[in-house]
Symmetry: C2
Subunit: 278 residues, 2 copies
Amino acid sequence: MSSSPLIWVDGEPAQALPLPDRGLDFGDGLFETLLVRQGVPLFLPLHMERLAAGVDLLSFPDCIDAAKAQLSHSAARLSDLDWAAMRLTLTRGSAPRGYAAPLEAMPRIVITAAGLAADRSQQAAPLHLGWADLRWSSQPHLAGIKHLNRLEQVLVANQARDSHWDDAVVLDQQGNVCSLSAGNLFLLESGRLLTPSLETCGIAGTRRRLVLEQLAPALGVAVEQAHISPEQLLEADAVICCNSIRGLQAVASLGDRSWTNFSMCEALHQRYVDAMAC
Amino acid sequence: MSSSPLIWVDGEPAQALPLPDRGLDFGDGLFETLLVRQGVPLFLPLHMERLAAGVDLLSFPDCIDAAKAQLSHSAARLSDLDWAAMRLTLTRGSAPRGYAAPLEAMPRIVITAAGLAADRSQQAAPLHLGWADLRWSSQPHLAGIKHLNRLEQVLVANQARDSHWDDAVVLDQQGNVCSLSAGNLFLLESGRLLTPSLETCGIAGTRRRLVLEQLAPALGVAVEQAHISPEQLLEADAVICCNSIRGLQAVASLGDRSWTNFSMCEALHQRYVDAMAC
């Protein structure tokens, strides 16, 4: 499989998006990035539940069943690949000029897929992080959902790239720790795990939910959502990131601070691999 | 001309956007909405200067000359129309998966155009407004530029539509007045004009700049950017909106408050029509 992605629009192989489209015009849409093993999207219910929450919040017509059907159809084409990344994008479709959504919107479903070289059941290397200059903007109404307005993530990822970091830690407008540009954070403190509470910004990651509801409880480790200051993050015994494609990754350094005990991340990763097999 | 828009992508007539595209994926791009009279885009330098500020802020390769050339080429096709609206969308183009922008990005230029029925040199009817439930998120780094992340505008415009308002007044996170979903605001207070200062949110409208730098000074009216409370807006002697397509419009009502003296708006509109002819 070449590095150029496979693409489907509304269930048909395609090279282009019909115009006009409100996803392009305003970011009026949602997306999910799924890890696919031998043609099977992993943790599909977690992705579909978050997508459904977004569909509800943005008052899209119900299109979750169609999205699931098209995902399955496209994923089946990837069965020869050990690992692939699929992106499902849902837009509010075509409309005349203007911000207000048409009442009779016809959502459009765009799926792209590309093979992944690395074995995603192996734990990825620990990350070297920096602090982002930008803070996520505060918008409680949109916090948690994975909508298409991601220019802030682009700016943070560009800073990380220019700084030769793997990613950057981003604060919220109150100065608390929120997330990476592409991943959620957990910190280990006195034997328990804490993760930012995402009330005003951030994306409620599928792997974050998995750690909260399944992986940490399976290890008998207490886990909580909390407000976390930058100082608290630096004083943590360990920091762990999660992301749908990269899974669970330890943090090796953040600025001048470094960590060397990755045992909690390794234990969570083992539970993650077990959960993948279910 | 039918109501379906004319579309060009990278200078060629088109019906679709090549995929993948970072404009769709992340809203990684900018746009301008231009009023076109008989094939001539009006106030083009104001639009191109704002676009250039966005290109600079987002670290796009320089593509302003190409955008201008394609705008002129497309606008010339509209010479049979008295009035048309054109939208110029600039995206960071195709890239592999991931938020970080490729260093060798090739921006894509999408232009759509549609005829307008109303004579845009005539003053549009006064507006009936409400208060938006949503507040604009605070992001000083992106304030002012017209990027593609406009989901908040969609949500506000949807509330206005559902409430049978022409548009809604939106506050910033500090509780000060910022703008409409699609337009900037001026208020008349003790003979001078005030407009929100857009330090943390909002779009620096081309017609707002025209009022600030040209139309108000031509009338000998003092004009200032300021922090404006909701109470101050309600106590104003008049409220005026501006937008690239609708021009200058008086506000007739905002919730229970109504205004009947539109003389300042009429005077500014007359200067606006004069400026159109230049």
